[in-house]
């Protein structure tokens, strides 16, 4: 029997699988496809102080190896979340992570103050990185100082773990990771969507009404993996990998690169029941590799140079002819 459990910022997760914010509803709406207890934790779609109507349509566009979205954090606001969603989470056999967003710095703290000690919520994910609001400026996830202050403001309002969700749209994500750690984050979700766009040259129209959007899906996996790896090297708090994960192999790759847990997002659009099958697939992979505890894999990535790897047989250096 393989042990899939992981310790994430003091939370005991039965497995490292989380749903990615925005792809699995606000509560347990997807419970008909994936049993609540199948996941380590459920992450809500972003909740904001005030209701948000979202962006104009078209809001989604398909592209290579994934798709683009420009939803614009449509949600009914925190009052609705407290009244209609939280009561449905009472007694759920899983952990609940509420993703909170805001327009201005004070909004994040106000959200945390309002929800900070609600017993239905086990942790918060702070959405610093939605590309579909504020004209894709991404200020909270590209300015280390603002990122730190935002997390610090949330920190003062809750005793529960806080995960900062970062954007891949930066040159040095490690600096942002250090900033949110300094601000008091207990973990980092790496990463949100990549900025992207599509265009139909015949009609001259962009695929999305607002032109730019967030690119997600298997196409972003190498970018997300590198970001998660850089975060893991930069901070001592745990990393939740996110971006293009669709298979049990993908999950283990992120763990080896330094992640403690992962989120699955766009792959649930291809098959809403996909996450339900992943725990058994993880077990099978680990069993066949003779690894009894999944957590033993975390951060075990080796030096990339073959000769430096203790188990690899050394090879003579290849002569590269230059002309």
């Amino acid at each position: 029997m393989v042990d899939l459990s992981v310790d994430l910022a003091g939370l005991r997760l039965r497995n490292p699988l989380l749903s990615a914010s925005g792809t699995f509803g606000h509560g347990l709406e997807m419970g008909g496809f994936v049993a609540p207890e199948a996941l380590g934790a459920w992450v809500s779609k972003t909740v904001t102080l005030e209701p948000r109507h979202g962006n104009p349509a078209p809001r989604i566009a398909e592209t290579e190896a994934g798709f683009l979205n420009s939803i614009g954090l449509e949600n009914r606001g925190v009052e609705h979340y407290e009244r209609e969603v939280l009561p449905t989470l009472v007694g759920a056999d899983t952990l609940i992570v509420t993703n909170i967003g805001g327009k201005q710095l004070e909004d994040f703290a106000a959200m945390a103050e309002r929800l900070g000690e609600r017993p239905e919520i086990h942790a918060f994910e702070v959405n610093l990185s939605c590309p579909n609001v504020q004209g894709a400026k991404l200020q909270y996830s590209t300015d280390p100082d603002l990122a730190e202050r935002t997390i610090a403001s949330v920190r003062t309002k809750t005793s529960k773990p806080i995960f900062a969700k970062l954007s891949p749209n930066v040159a040095r994500i490690g600096e942002i990771a250090k900033a949110v750690e300094a601000g008091g984050a207990d973990g980092i979700t790496a990463v949100n969507t990549l900025l992207g766009m599509s265009v139909d040259w015949r009609s001259r129209r962009p695929g999305l009404a607002l032109v730019q959007g967030g690119y997600s899906g298997t196409g972003i996996k190498p970018v997300a993996l590198r970001c998660a790896w850089e975060c893991a090297r930069s901070v001592s708090i745990p990393i939740i990998g996110c971006g293009g994960i669709a298979t049990a192999d993908d999950v283990l790759e992120f763990l080896v690169a330094g992640c403690t847990a992962v989120q699955v997002g766009t792959a649930s659009f291809s098959d809403p029941g996909l996450l339900a099958g992943l725990p058994a697939q993880l077990e099978a992979l680990l069993e066949s590799a003779g690894i009894p505890r999944l957590s033993d894999l975390i951060g075990t990535i080796r030096d990339g140079r073959e000769a430096a790897s203790p188990s690899a047989s050394p090879k003579p250096a290849t002569q590269v002819a230059r002309s």
Binding site: F33, G54, A57, R59, H80, E84, V85, S270, D271, P272
Partner: protein, 293 residues
């Protein structure tokens, strides 16, 4: 908080056959592993499924298709599901080029289908535009079934429906021979006159009313290209008639989660409490006085 329909499932379905239909369409016949309704009940017309190949040849996002027909199988197995698919882009092409024996991801049944067509009232006129005919086959069947049940119970049967089936040209009037077998009054229109009436379905409707072949008091359910739906909306509003339009929005998930398939609502209307509705879980059919087309 719209959620996936309680009866929606995700499963694999074996592709039994792919038959060409019209100039650019195919009929996909699928055999689901588990029944999609309980106790052999027929699917409600105009519910839909998301379909996708899982061998890497389909795009990431599955495609929504209305159920076209259900075909009983021999033995106790669930009925086969038939989808009428117009090949438009990479998603539909991947499906159409699948070999029998391929297993496809089948997510559904989704959406609310048509409103209850068997409620007492004026007869239904179904306006089908090209591939928009797909959700009407079982709509007609459901009325026939309701009529038979009423006859048996000695109650008033619903009026037989009219099906006005339009397209640009004859090759896009898919499976018309099968529609002709249904218990409805079928009239065909093509823009180029290659089959039936020359003109569009609303011009045809005007003609049929003028000729006394369709009554003036009627209810409309329409599915087809957006200009046709808008024309139907305007036509019905001018006559104060009930009109429903089934929409083909881009969908990311089909189960009410991604917020991609939004349709603007009419403020103050029945749906006006929020500026949009999701075509997947709150539709795909909407009353035309509640949404902006």
């Amino acid at each position: 908080m719209p959620a996936p329909p309680p009866d929606a499932q995700t499963q694999l379905a074996e592709l039994i056959s792919v038959e060409p239909c019209g100039t650019d369409g195919v009929l996909l016949r699928l055999r689901p592993e588990a029944p999609v309704t309980q106790d052999g009940a027929p699917l409600a017309p105009n519910r839909f499924f998301m379909l996708r190949r899982e061998d890497g040849l389909s795009p990431a996002i599955p495609r929504p298709f209305s159920i076209y027909r259900e075909v009983p199988t021999e033995g106790d197995g669930p009925a086969d599901l038939v989808f009428l698919v117009k090949v438009i882009g990479p998603g539909t092409r991947a499906l159409a080029e699948s070999a029998p024996g391929t297993f496809l991801r089948l997510i559904g049944p989704l959406g609310l289908g048509w409103p209850d067509l068997t409620t007492p009232g004026d007869p239904w006129v179904f306006l089908a535009g090209g591939i928009g005919s797909a959700p009407f086959f079982m709509a007609v069947e459901s009325l026939t079934r309701a009529g038979d049940a009423a006859e048996e119970a000695g109650t008033e049967p619903p009026a037989a429906p009219y099906l006005l089936y339009g397209a640009a040209t004859a090759g896009l009037v898919y499976d018309v021979e099968e529609f002709a077998e249904l218990d409805c009054s079928l009239h065909v229109a093509t823009d180029d006159g290659s089959l039936g009436f020359r003109g569009n379905v609303l011009q045809l409707l005007d003609r049929l009313i003028a000729d006394g072949l369709v009554p003036e008091r009627l209810r409309i359910a329409a599915c087809g290209p957006l200009p046709m739906l808008r024309a139907a909306q305007t036509w019905a509003a001018a006559r104060d008639l009930e009109c429903w339009a089934s929409l083909e929005e881009l969908m990311g998930c089909g189960v009410g989660i991604c917020n991609g398939c939004v349709v603007e609502t009419v403020p103050g209307s029945e749906l006006g409490s929020w500026p949009n509705v999701k075509a997947c879980v709150e539709g795909p059919a909407f009353r035309c006085d509640t949404v902006v087309l």
